[in-house]
Symmetry: C2
Subunit: 286 residues, 2 copies
C-alpha cells in the first residue's frame, strides 16, 4: 500500500516510521525542507521523498496530512481538485478539527476523509524527534465525513501498528471533550498564574514558597502563547461554555464558604476527590 | 538544651529525630499512644517519653507542639497556666495559623510564642514515617507573638539542623500567601474535576481520553475532604478574596474570546507563561 505522509515533523515522522516498517507498505514523505527529506530518507522513516504532494497524491492509497492546520486546509483544497484513487482515505493530525471537518464536508465531500487527532506529541518538533513509540497507548480520535464513515475500521487497521487507542466520534463531541479536558485546564493554569502575580507580585518573589500543589496545577501554564491563542479561538464556543462551568464551580466554593456550610463544602471536595481517584481506573498511580 | 516535642507523628517525629541527634540536645517526646512512645524511644527519635506534657513542660527550653490544630490550641491553654522556664520558646507546626496566633497573643502573651508552618509532609502519617530529611529545603514560616519577636533568630538557630528554609512573617501575610499558593489551587483542582463531571459525565468514562495536562492540573483534587474543609474555613476571608481573583482572570479569558481579541488573549497567555517560567528560578525544571 502506498502511504503519503505530508509534514515530517515529530507527529508525521513518528507515524511514517512505524508504517514504513510494515512489509506491505511504501511510505512516501512530503516535506518542504530538503534537510528534513534527507534525514527522513537516511533513517528509513520513509521510502521515497518529494517536496510536492501533487506529484504523488494520485498513487496514494492513504494520505496523511501532518503539517500545521493552516497548511492542512490548503492541501485539502489542492487535493479536492485532483484525480485521486477511488478508494483513497485522506486523514490528518491537526489538533483543532472544526475548520478541517467543514472543508472535508464541503470541498472534499467526494473523498473518504477521516479527521484524526492524537493526544500525543511532546514540546519537541522536527524529524529528529521521530519516535516509533510516540503514539503507543495514547487516545487517537477519528472523525469521518459522510463517505469516510464506512472506512473508519479500515483506517484503524492500517494505523494499528502505531498502537494508539482509537475512538471514532463526531466533531462536536470531540470539540466539547477537548474544551473540557484540555482547553479549560490550560486556561485554569494560565488564570491561576496570573491571579497569583496580581495578588502576590512577581513570581520570582513568591516562587520560593510554593509547594508541589501549585507547581502541578500551573505546570501547563508554560505552554506556547501563539499556539494556544489559535487553539482556544478555533474552539471558541465550547471553550467559553466549559470555562463558564468552571467559574460556576469556583463560585459554589465561595458560596459554601460565606455561609459556613461545612456539609456542602465537604461534599464538593469529596465529589472531586472521588472523581479524581476514578479518573485513571486501574492505573491509578498518577 | 531540653526540647519537648508533643505529637510524634510524621512532622513531630521527623523534627525530634534530627534535634535529638545534636550533641547538646535532649528531646523529650510526648504522645498519647504507648506504641508510638515505644517506637520513638527504640529508634532514638527521642531520649525520653511521657504521655503528659504537664510533667515535663517546666523543664523545657523549647516546646514544639506538633499535634493536630485542635490539640495544639488545648495545649496552649494548659501551658498558659503553668510555670515555665522564663526563657522558654514555644512553637508549633499547625498548618492554619490565625486561631493559634490569636491564643498566642492573648492567653500566652507572657511567653515567647513563635508559630511555625512548614510546607513539608507527605500523605503518610505516624511515627513510622519519621524522616531526617523531611524538612530539607522546604519553606518554613515563623510567626512570633510580641514577646517572641526578639527570639526568632534563636529559634532559627535551634531548628537549623532540619535544614528548612526559614522565613519570619506576620500571620496576615502568611494567610494571604497560603490562600493564593495553596488553598485556591486546591479549590481550582476540585472545581475543575467537578466541572468536568458535570459536562462529560462520570470520570470513569472520559478518564480514558485525558492527557498529562488534565492529570497535572487536577492531581491535588485527591486531597482529604475533611482536612481541606477545615483549612479553607479557617482562612475563609482570604480564600474567598483570592478565589474571586482567580474567577476574574478566568472571566478575562472569556472576555477576550467573545471579542476575538487575539492580542489580549496572547498577552494573557504570555504573561502566565513568563511568570511560570520564572517561578522556580534557577531550578527551573519542574
Amino acid at each position: 500500500m502506498n502511504i503519503v505522509v505530508q509534514g515530517l515533523g515529530e507527529m508525521g515522522a513518528s507515524l511514517a516510521m512505524v508504517l514504513n516498517q510494515q512489509h506491505d507498505n511504501r511510505v512516501i514523505g512530503v516535506d518542504a525542507k530538503a534537510v528534513t527529506r534527507q534525514a527522513a530518507l537516511k533513517n528509513n522513516i520513509v521510502s521515497e521523498v518529494t517536496d510536492d504532494i501533487v506529484a504523488v497524491a494520485g498513487q496514494a492509497d492513504v494520505i496523511v496530512l501532518a503539517t500545521p492546520v493552516s497548511i492542512i486546509k490548503q492541501t485539502m483544497k489542492i487535493l479536492s481538485k485532483m484525480l485521486l484513487k477511488s478508494h483513497v482515505i485522506v486523514t490528518d493530525t491537526g489538533s483543532t478539527k472544526n475548520e478541517i471537518m467543514a472543508i472535508a464536508n464541503s470541498e472534499l465531500q467526494h473523498v473518504a476523509f477521516i479527521g484524526g487527532h492524537a493526544m500525543a506529541g511532546t514540546h519537541k518538533s522536527g524529524v529528529a524527534y521521530a519516535d516509533a513509540l510516540l503514539y503507543v497507548g495514547t487516545p487517537y480520535f477519528l472523525m469521518p465525513n459522510p463517505i469516510g464513515k464506512q472506512r473508519v475500521n479500515q483506517l484503524k487497521k492500517i494505523l494499528a501498528p502505531i498502537q494508539a487507542h482509537f475512538t471514532a466520534m463526531d466533531v462536536t463531541t470531540h470539540d466539547d471533550l477537548m474544551a473540557m479536558i484540555s482547553d479549560v485546564p490550560h486556561i485554569a493554569a494560565f488564570a491561576l498564574m496570573n491571579a497569583a502575580v496580581k495578588q502576590l507580585g512577581p513570581s520570582e518573589g513568591f516562587g520560593q514558597y510554593v509547594a508541589g500543589g501549585f507547581k502541578d496545577t500551573t505546570r501547563i501554564a508554560e505552554s506556547d502563547p501563539n499556539l494556544w491563542t489559535d487553539i482556544l479561538l478555533s474552539n471558541k464556543a465550547s471553550v467559553m461554555a466549559n470555562n463558564q462551568a468552571l467559574i460556576a464551580e469556583l463560585e459554589a466554593f465561595n458560596q459554601a464558604l460565606i455561609s459556613d456550610d461545612v456539609a456542602n463544602l465537604t461534599a464538593l471536595i469529596h465529589a472531586a476527590q472521588t472523581s479524581r481517584q476514578r479518573l485513571l481506573g486501574r492505573e491509578n498511580n498518577d
